[in-house]
Amino acid sequence: MESTEELQFSDDEEEVTAETVLKTLQCAWQNERLSPEILPHQNDMVECMLGQIQHMERNINKLSKTDLRTSIHKMEISRIKFIICNYLKTRLNKIEKYCIPILNQERQRIETDTNYLTPSEYKYAQEYVLNMENHMKNVVLNKMPGNMQVFEMNKMAEHPNLQTHVFLKANETINGVVLEDLTGEDEEIDLEEGSQHILQYKPIADLLKNGKVTLL
């Protein structure tokens, strides 16, 4: 994907080119789509990319309509927009599906400031659960007899399946990944840089979140 190398986004902290941001965003999008649970958010990247899009659109409007570059840039912008929208949408879907466990975990994470959800997402999740609860209560639970009326949060929860297998690629050499076996035997393996594996999601979840592996 050719990018506009001449546009540079300079932050207060570091200088990042648009290309790197796009690559990181693409990686995050891929990971998000393939992992069974919700991953830490990449809101900075998203916002940065949105800013780039604005910049690119302004540039395009300066060019004449028939320039070849216009259509190429427009195509690129629409692809980037699609990636961003799909990324956010995948996250929303996961939030809606696993809303209750995510909220529970998030409450703990907020205290240690390692939240996975952006503030807007968190608000969205809370509203969503509240709506669902109220809906259930109004429609059926309040009409049910006696002690049936409780909205049992845990029973309503859907938990992501962390045991699913995923394809992954190791970005750097990792030693000592512990694989749990059903029989209780633990196996320890090493992952070479650049190697590809099929493993259960659970052991590598942390590695994914640190960026040491990527899902394929």
Binding site: Q54, C85, V140, M144, M148
Partner: protein
Amino acid sequence: MFAEKVIELIKEVDRNPDTIDQYNDEKIRQIIEEMHLLFKLNMNDANATTENRSLWTTVQVRHSALERNKRCILAYLYNRMKKIKTLRWEFGAVLPPDIRELLSDDEYQWFSKYSGNLALYMRSLGQDIGYSGIDLTENLKPPKSLFIEVLCVVDYGKLELEDGDVVMLKKNSRHYLPTSECQTLIRQGILKQIM
């Protein structure tokens, strides 16, 4: 037998995974009545069990039936909720009247709240850098080309494009327009893409 009616509800929801059926108010009422009945019987028997242990199993069975009813009803509602959610992504915030009929009033209220919540979230996206939100319901498919050829299936009237041009969408007219303009209309069924 207890908890039989509720299975019919589950079957109903499962029968058409893609579409939503009419909200079965009647059945739900019947099941709740059944639950009340069971509960009352149970209350009577539970008070009696302190003396007579043999009734305990009956109470257990009824209690399980009650739990099952509750679980199934909640499953029914939850599944309908999921289907209604997809409606929001497909049709937008305003539902066509024939679909609106299939939802109960409570469900429609939930739909409005969900819609509002979603809109609030979408508006907050990119707020820090001056965007007034991104519409996530657009861009549902990866873009193949900048322009697509479409055939207008119904008389729609005028469509204003981004660059100010006005296109008259009459039935059976063909147009070659930018993809971004056409996406919503294709979803609504007004335009059809020509391969």
